[in-house]
């Protein structure tokens, strides 16, 4: 074993997982072929709300290769209800959530029948031969109308209102009363923003294989959450948890979209149990868009009170959040995650948050990259610009006046959190310098004076977010059903190689690389000598998986603690081997030595000695493995300043991002290449919300953006080159100093872009444009015309078969 020469942490290592991912050498769930395997195809409801009056499977059952056709009736006794782990209030309404509809469908895309056949082709063929009779019910789509309770999604609940969740700084003792602040304010600004519905659009479609053998069930799934999935499958089916093994092999993206216990996972398990044979289901892209959970979908009414000098005194956020038809794993909690972020980096005296969750006949919503925090950040960053416009002040100036100064950390916020560290001044100064703020303002003034067809706007987003989900006691206080700790194990192999087992479940993040860097540094072993195992409940028996920018701050910390346990034991054994007092043992670069002597034992020597166990100190167990579980005391709070310069073609409404500068403070950086990658991808998704993406339903509740030709995910050609930079203010809540970076780009960028668009055309009388700021919407706003959210346009497989999002 040789010591590493330079620190691994901070090194821009290429990702060790990439070679197999990009050359097809890995094995995705859909690649698995098991002997005797059956294939499952799902018939989905074409209507959004209906009673099922009859299902005739006789023709389908008789088709070649079809083993069985199953309907909701067949599963009624065993399917239970899909879990919702976050009952946000005691009186929250929670309808039964069957994996397959039994007598009523509540969204278009809900499963109504399964074909199980000997090939995926034959299963798909037989779907068309199933005849379902629907007795259609009134469709509930609009949240405000839904709250009138004229037509009900779930009649048994008696209402479409799911729950109302309130935070009030006066009641919490974290601030004053917002109504008092508004009543006595010199300036009050009220705005309503719409967070359009988005589709996570991960690259690898969902796929499940279940293999029943003896009394065990092995479940492969393209999931972010193998551990939670195992627990929930056991809870829903009654199959003993130790008889279920879940494996998430390499998984191609999730963005929260695979933070779910899906109907299809449960159905595959039930079918495999029933048939006694392995079963596979892999979705099509359109199936994914019609049935995998969506994200966002809120209406935000925001009231901000301020003094004429620009000091904000209070903020009130009144939200409607669309749950869709059912509560999935964390559906009701997603908007609540935003409750702590509306005050962002600012010092507001008073804050009140009220969120009403609403049922509609749409695909259930749930976590999507940022989950509640992008919505909050958008609202406050838009409001800061509105206040600046109202007071005719520079929008950066107004932020500076209100933000927490670097010497004020740790800072207790009006939302009840404690921000441990940060330096908003430093990140902003760096961003302003990279951006050329003053020059762009001058150009903007020139273009306005010239009446140029192409106007220039500057958008600011000074954001923070909460990462590292989460302190278990906080989750308990928020009524979440699980904890937020993470676990790691280190196995020291007799040849000196190291296996790391993590409870996090990477699906594109690069954990194998960064975890190896952390262990290599900590133990002084070569990077290449570390193997990271994950995503299999048989090897990684416990964990809380990956979401909420938690893996490094929580899981990485568990790994540091496990490595320290290895070293502590190794130090004792090294002292024994070198016949010295433990306090005289020094450890550096992978070797133990006796202070002041030339006596040395490498870690490899010590590990081998522990493994053969011929001569151990009294009472010491053989082996040098260690486990650690870490439960954080606090969240971590990345922050940064994003600046966007956008050109708006006033003749066509087209928006072009000319310059985008992102300065992020994500704490201590383990691998700058991976951080840059996370920021770039995050920016793409945040910009996509601002300009491109929107899930659109027609008046019947049919999703009209059900292909990637209609749902406009941008590609590299649609995005500018990003200028990224960092400031580093280490987190104090974990030994790595890391804050998390998975969601920062998405959270920060949406308001930066929309602020830029509005800044370009505000002088022409435009005060707001709904997202996505499509050319038609921008042009309509410039004509003083109301935005038409669902204007049909070219799209899909041509120009007439779709009313998607093309124009």
């Amino acid at each position: 074993m040789t010591a590493t020469a330079e620190p691994e942490i901070g090194k821009a290592r290429l990702r060790k997982e990439d070679a197999r991912l990009i050359t097809g050498q890995t094995r995705w769930t859909d690649n698995l072929q098991l002997t005797g395997m059956l294939h499952m195809a799902v018939l989905r409801s074409p209507v959004a709300h209906a009673r099922i009056t009859n299902i005739d499977c006789s023709r389908a059952t008789a088709m070649p290769g079809v083993a069985v056709v199953l309907t909701g009736e067949d599963f009624a006794a065993e399917q239970g209800s899909l879990p919702c782990a976050w009952p946000i209030t005691e009186d929250m309404k929670s309808p039964p959530a069957p994996a397959m509809a039994v007598d009523q469908v509540n969204f278009a895309g809900e499963a109504v029948a399964l074909v199980i056949a000997d090939s995926a082709y034959r299963a798909a063929d037989a779907l068309a031969a199933i005849d379902v009779d629907y007795d259609e019910l009134p469709v509930v789509l609009d949240m405000e109308e839904a709250l009138q309770d004229n037509d009900l999604v779930h009649p048994d609940l008696g209402t479409n209102k799911c729950a109302t969740w309130v935070f009030d700084s006066a009641e919490a003792g974290s601030g004053t009363n917002v109504e008092d602040e508004i009543a006595s304010a010199e300036v009050v600004i009220e705005r309503t923003f719409r967070q359009q519905r988005l589709i996570p659009a991960f690259m690898e479609p969902r796929s499940v294989v279940v293999d029943p053998h003896a009394d065990m069930f092995t479940v492969w799934s393209a999931t972010q959450i193998p551990h939670i999935l195992r627990w929930m499958l056991a809870a829903v089916t009654g199959i003993a948890e130790h008889k279920i093994r879940v494996i998430a092999p390499d998984v191609g993206g999730g963005f929260g979209g695979k933070l779910q216990v899906t109907p299809e996972e449960l159905l595959c398990l039930l079918v495999a149990r029933r048939m006694g044979r392995p079963v596979k289901w892999t979705e099509t892209r359109t199936e994914s868009m019609l049935s995998a959970h969506h994200g966002r979908d809120q209406i935000q009414k925001i009231t901000l009170s301020a003094r004429r000098d620009g000091t904000v005194t209070g903020l009130k956020a009144e939200l409607l959040a669309d749950m869709g038809a059912y509560l999935r794993l964390v559906t009701p909690g997603v908007p609540i995650l935003g409750a702590f972020m509306f005050n962002a980096i600012y010092k507001f005296a008073a804050y009140r948050f009220v969120c009403t969750n609403v049922f509609t006949n749409k695909v259930p919503t749930d976590a999507y990259r940022g989950a509640g925090r992008p919505e909050a950040t958008f609202a406050i960053e838009r409001m800061m610009d509105e206040l600046a416009a109202e007071l005719d002040m520079d929008p950066m100036k107004i932020r500076e006046m209100n933000w927490i100064k670097h010497e004020e950390f740790p800072f207790n916020t009006v939302a009840g959190l404690t921000y441990d560290s940060g330096n908003y001044e430093a990140a902003t100064a760096r961003a302003m310098e990279l951006f050329g703020y003053e020059e762009l303002r001058e150009e903007q003034a020139r273009r306005r004076a010239d009446g140029s067809a192409v106007q220039l706007g500057i958008g600011i987003s000074t954001y923070t977010e909460m990462c590292g989900l989460a302190p278990s006691r906080v989750l308990g206080a928020l009524r979440y059903a699980a904890g937020g700790w993470e676990t790691a194990s280190i196995r020291m192999l007799p040849t000196g190689k190291v296996e790391v087992i993590t409870g996090t479940s990477p699906h594109g993040q690069g954990h194998e690389t960064v975890w190896s860097q952390i262990v290599a540094d900590r133990l002084g072993v070569p990077f290449e000598d570390v193997e990271v195992l994950h995503g299999d409940t048989a090897t990684s028996h416990k964990g809380m998986d990956s979401y909420g920018s938690r893996s490094l701050t929580v899981g990485g910390t568990a790994l540091v603690h496990a490595a320290d346990k290895v070293l502590a034991k190794a130090r004792t054994l090294a002292a024994h081997m070198m016949e010295c007092d433990e306090s005289d043992v020094e450890f550096a670069a992978g070797s133990f030595s006796v202070r002041g002597t030339s006596t040395v034992r490498t870690l490899g020597d010590v590990v081998l000695a522990a493994h053969v166990a011929h001569d151990l100190p009294d009472g010491m167990e053989p082996g040098m493995d260690a486990d650690a579980t870490f439960d954080p005391d606090n969240f971590s709070f990345p922050h940064g300043t994003h600046l966007c310069a956008a050109e708006v073609d006033t003749e066509t409404g087209m928006v072009k991002i000319r310059l985008y500068v992102a300065v992020d403070d994500v704490g201590t950086v383990m691998n700058p290449l991976i951080v840059d990658g996370q920021v770039h991808g995050g920016l793409a998704q945040g910009i996509a919300q601002a300009l491109f993406e929107e899930a659109i339903h027609d008046e019947m509740g049919t999703l009209t953006t059900a292909t990637l030709a209609d749902y406009l995910v941008p590609c590299a050609a649609d995005l500018p080159g990003f200028i990224t930079a960092r400031t580093e203010t280490p987190a104090t809540s974990n030994p790595l100093g890391a804050k998390g970076v998975g969601e920062a780009g998405t959270i920060a960028s949406t308001p930066a872009v929309v602020n830029a668009v509005l800044d370009a055309v505000r002088h022409m009388g435009v005060r707001d444009i709904e997202m996505p700021c499509s050319p038609e919407r921008v042009w309509n706003a410039l004509q003083g015309r109301a935005a038409d959210a669902s204007a049909p346009a070219a799209g899909g497989l041509g120009s007439i078969d779709s009313q998607g999002g093309q124009s």
Binding site: D125, T284, G653, P775, A793, A794, G798, S799, Q806
Partner: protein, 274 residues
């Protein structure tokens, strides 16, 4: 995704392909590059009983010089069109339009003739074919016939092609020395145009001798902006003349009408400059 079952046929000549079409009947379909048909099959929006793959008919690929015009084989890929010197010299507009079609992967598989036969009014190649007075050369059971573009595009996804016919060549008159430009507005790179304008202009002695303008995605097929064309002839090649003529591209006040006017002006300005 998984298409419905179909019979797959691979003819080795145009005549054999025509015979197969007749034998297989109305539910058979020609597959060229497959860039429009395969997605439709995968989503089971269509379920032809037989696919006749004309990908092996090498006589349908490539561009030939035919005196006053070019003959473009229907199976010439977009990529080949982009790189063909005859097209560059005599039908520059086609090259500029083809540069904007979808993405490089699609341009390597998709074909010129296939795009025209698919007849999606949002497709890029219809408007320049119409504007440039292209003529479709069609093979059928009773021999060859020629149909001008103005008669070929009938409606949304509908052409004058009979169910037993195959487009084999496209004749495009030479526009040697004409300036050209394709002004396309789409939301993301691989999206269809909201509106696009294909313009070719012949400038002589500082004034406009002739103009050809086609609009993409403003109707059930490509639209020729004849009023703009005639307004331009004999005018000086100036910004004022172009602006005035471009207003004739559309008379309505919808977003698309506005785009037709704005993009026509921009396309003409660039075509005159180029």
């Amino acid at each position: 995704m998984i298409p419905a079952e179909f019979k797959y046929l691979f003819p080795s000549s145009v005549d054999e392909a025509v015979r197969m079409l007749a034998e297989e009947g109305e539910d058979a379909k020609i597959i060229a590059g497959g860039q429009s048909l395969v997605p439709v099959l995968r989503m089971r929006l269509a379920a032809p009983t037989a696919l006749i793959d004309i990908g092996g008919l090498t006589e349908l690929t490539g561009v030939r010089d035919d005196g006053d015009s070019l003959l473009i084989g229907a199976m010439t890929t977009h990529y080949e069109v982009q790189r063909d010197h005859l097209i560059q010299d005599h039908a520059l507009l086609l090259r500029l339009v083809t540069d904007t079609v979808a993405d490089p992967q699609v341009r390597h598989r998709g074909t010129f003739g296939g795009s025209l036969c698919h007849a999606d009014p949002a497709g890029d190649l219809l408007a320049p074919a119409l504007a440039l007075d292209a003529v479709m050369i069609i093979a059928g059971p009773s021999g060859r016939r020629e149909v001008p573009a103005a008669e070929f595009f009938v409606d949304y996804f509908e052409t004058a092609l009979g169910p037993d016919e195959i487009l084999i060549d496209v004749r495009v008159p030479k526009y040697t020395g004409w300036g050209a430009h394709y002004e396309k507005l789409n939301r993301v790179a691989q999206a269809w145009s909201i509106v696009a304008v294909a313009a070719a202009v012949q400038v002589s002695g500082g004034s406009i001798a002739a103009a050809r303008i086609g609009l993409t995605n403003v109707g059930s097929g490509p639209v020729r902006a004849v009023d703009v064309e005639s307004a331009l002839v004999g005018q000086p090649a100036t910004a004022e003349a172009i602006s005035a003529a471009a207003l004739k591209a559309s008379s309505g006040d919808s977003y698309k009408d506005n785009l037709a006017r704005v993009l026509t002006g921009r396309a003409l300005t660039a075509a005159v400059a180029g």
